[in-house]
């Protein structure tokens, strides 16, 4: 994904904020890491090589800002770190979907797209009067690799 500097600048200006090298770089790192789920520390590490003088605090502040601007999403995989990923942009509208498959064995995290939840949201609205605007779904289980490995081990035990 490519960042449009001018769009970004405009977006910041609207809120009386300035565009800085640091803000741009953080956003770029996230844009280049689409599909990954980076912690603040990881973003910092990736930036430091080219920008040795950046501070971790700035990464935290920037990530907070990008979150408020709606450019990125925060996800929580319950490992003690907040993670960030660039938002799915669809024209002017954000998808605001966080579907993650978290393997309980190898810890690998995959994302998937699925619109089946819309039926669920409609149901909730009609039954409870709760108007859903965003959701987060985490499916825990075993990825293909770990499932197959487990199956093989079970077969060995049987012999």
């Amino acid at each position: 994904m490519k960042i449009d500097r001018e769009d970004f600048k405009r977006l910041l200006k609207e809120k009386g904020l300035k565009m800085t090298r640091q803000r741009l770089v953080v956003l770029e790192v996230l844009a280049e890491s689409s599909g990954q789920h980076l912690t603040a520390e990881e973003i910092y590490e990736r930036i430091k090589a080219a920008n040795p003088d950046i501070g971790l605090a700035t990464v935290y502040r920037t990530v907070q800002l990008l979150l408020e601007l709606g450019l990125i999403d925060r996800i929580n995989l319950d490992d003690g770190f907040a993670r960030y990923e660039i938002g799915d942009v669809d024209g002017k509208h954000r998808h605001h979907r966080h579907h993650h498959l978290i393997c309980l064995k190898c810890g690998k995290v995959a994302a998937f797209q699925e619109d089946m939840l819309e039926a669920l949201e409609t149901g909730v609205r009609e039954a409870l009067g709760f108007r859903v605007t965003d959701h987060e779904v985490k499916l825990y289980g075993y990825c293909r690799g770990c499932s197959e490995q487990e199956k093989r081990q079970n077969q060995e035990e049987e012999t």
Copy 2:
């Protein structure tokens, strides 16, 4: 919900652990607070009245233990606290479902039961080979009260 002391004791014994007043009390508080989502601190507060000499560290350790025993669930509402609730027990099997409606305005959290996700899980398994064993769903939006309040305010603005 009522805790069976002897069942609990037996469960602990299986792992070479001892039953203590503190462990029982923590479990009881959670059992009495079914449907709520208590932080460690909140559990501690509720216990302290009757047991002034209990330590917060013990609550943390106990909650960790109950989690490992599968008696309680941890949920994360992204407010900086880990929250705990007694697990839905259905005979011998835990439901392992965490469906929460989180109001973006008043912050109220409600739970709901919904089995529509099973179709989703089946789909994921067939398409990606990922075997789902547990899931967590958070629906963010506006609860009935806040939705109505907002509607009223919009009407006022129009006049």
